[in-house]
Symmetry: C2
Subunit: 341 residues, 2 copies
């Protein structure tokens, strides 16, 4: 940049201002500077500008790593969406996979090191200490999802209407006459899973159907868990006539279990699932004419993109509180039918 300013006969001040779009520079010189920069293939040093300006143009994503180093597969699609939004604003994404018990320290370090301008809070739990921590640290953040007392607190988040989604899914089944309905859910200390359970429960209640403890399963949302939960449910003395899954991966495990047990879908049992529109489960053209499963769907890639955009706004207007809830879409497939009972 020094050589650039000398070559142009301008001060570094002016060059910097011209390139960063400050108004104290005439249009003519700005253009001149920009052209020279282009010609010299000049790229400002990100670190130097970070140091001088006190902002890094980097967003931190702390990925909580569960016990078995499992990482939620939904992240990859979410991150690709967020990354798009950041790129459009000239921001970058810093990733750290962190064991659960080190999370707090990592946030503290990140804040004190000034490594990032803001962070995204992933996987909020019902009891979520990170919100208070981040507010204490003064580190801007946005939550993907909500935590416990979401309605009372005044923080920014992007969430999906999980309650509504599961109500829709469950109601679809009760409307078809089902009453013995099982729920295969994620870990219910997570707010989203708690919400999904609540949506399920309220729709059951509306239909006057009983909640049976035996029909409620919950664990990490893996395909094998979907399989084993379904396997167990089908083996009950009085198996459910329908199952609601909280994720496509578990539903796939469910399909596998049903087919292995010789149980026909939807003749013998109806299946419906929440669907994050994970890219690796989608048809190449995205349409999925073969759509077999009945789903309630909301693209997690889009969620990432939207959250990224919101965070960019939050950074320019730190005082604003941004809250948004995405509405999933119900798509009837061929995996649900009238209850035969």
């Amino acid at each position: 940049m020094k050589s650039l300013s000398q070559q142009l006969g301008l001060s570094q001040t002016t060059v910097s201002r011209a390139l960063n779009g400050f108004p104290e520079v005439s249009e003519r010189t700005r253009r001149r500077v920009q052209e020279a920069a282009q010609a010299a293939n000049y790229r400002p040093s990100a670190i130097a500008s970070s140091l001088a300006a006190g902002r890094t143009r980097v967003i931190g994503h702390i990925i909580p790593m569960a016990q078995h180093r499992m990482i939620n597969p939904h992240f990859s699609d979410f991150l690709s969406g967020a990354s798009e939004a950041y790129a459009a604003a000239g921001y970058d994404m810093l990733l750290r996979a962190v064991p659960l018990d080190e999370e707090e320290q990592v946030y503290r370090d990140l804040a004190r090191q000034h490594r990032v301008d803001a962070v995204v809070v992933h996987g909020p739990k019902l009891d979520e200490p990170r919100i208070a921590l981040l507010e204490e640290l003064g580190l801007p953040f946005i939550v993907h999802g909500r935590c416990g007392e979401a309605e009372r607190k005044n923080y920014s988040y992007l969430d999906v209407d999980n309650v509504g989604a599961m109500q829709t899914a469950t109601r679809h089944l009760t409307n078809l006459g089902h009453r013995r309905i099982a729920l295969v859910n994620g870990l219910e200390d997570m707010r989203f899973a708690a919400d999904r359970r609540q949506g399920f429960a309220s729709a059951m209640d509306d239909a006057g159907a009983a909640l049976e403890a035996n029909y409620m399963r919950s664990a990490d949302m893996t395909e094998p868990f979907g399989y084993s939960a379904t396997h167990d449910l089908l083996a009950l003395d009085e198996p459910p006539t329908a199952i609601v899954y909280a994720s496509m991966l578990m539903a796939m495990g469910g399909l596998r279990a049903a087919s292995q047990a010789g149980v026909k879908v939807p003749d013998d049992i109806s299946l419906v699932t929440y669907d994050d529109a994970l890219s690796f489960l989608e048809d190449e053209d995205g349409t999925g004419d073969e759509r077999f499963l009945t789903v309630v769907r909301s693209s997690i890639h889009e969620a990432g993109e939207m959250l990224g955009t919101m965070l960019m706004e939050k950074i320019t207007h730190p005082d604003r509180t941004l809250q948004h809830i995405m509405e999933p879409q119900f798509i009837a497939g061929a995996s649900t039918a009238e209850s035969s009972q």
Copy 2:
């Protein structure tokens, strides 16, 4: 740090040296400094040290985004592994999902901006311009996989023995008497997919089995593609008696297609797949006593971890060329049986 050095009655030089483990500091003062730093909860500013030292302690991961914004699901596990290795060395991970046609510019910018100390090259193709580009840019890198003329070039990489893996898988089938074997592969402009095909082909050749063009399918490794490819294969006039898949996701699609078509596995058809040990397809306890599919398996999480470690070494010894090949493990399951023909 200024206040710290004043408080201690030492120069900033000494404090910096003490904390960074330089030898020109007596053990006594070093301890004194470290204790004071601990007490003051001091964390050096990462950006300032980056600027001064000319290294950022950040590794760049450029994730190529295919046409439909699909991101390879294997990344999440790979990244979590790499992240662990980085964290252990005090490094961070910068992520950018980039459309294919912008890749080169991104590498150039990253290098000129000094945003990262090194990068990881993902998804090398047979014809891979990035190696030459990065060498030209002088940006240290390591490749996950190999590119076209791997044997001639002198770059660092971590790869899996894809040829051997597929030979093993295919041989298992030919040993069981199968001759009409299909391959459902990834996109074959990618080196790893080309290798898998080659392994398949050579094992077929060894057994004197013919390669039939109709039996060779290749596309993005999604579950739906596994489904449709298998569906089509089963509908052929002369369907294969066995199928080899290049990924677990496609194999799952294959299982779905078979079960829907009423084709019994392994009675009517044998299935075997390459398996990246994706966390969300694993049992909670990782053992998988229900292991149904016969697989050739190599953990992609471990690959990430190992590659991260190698890259750390590469950074401290830039002159070294590190090359490593992981050997997958064959695990017999219940999805393969003797050919009935």
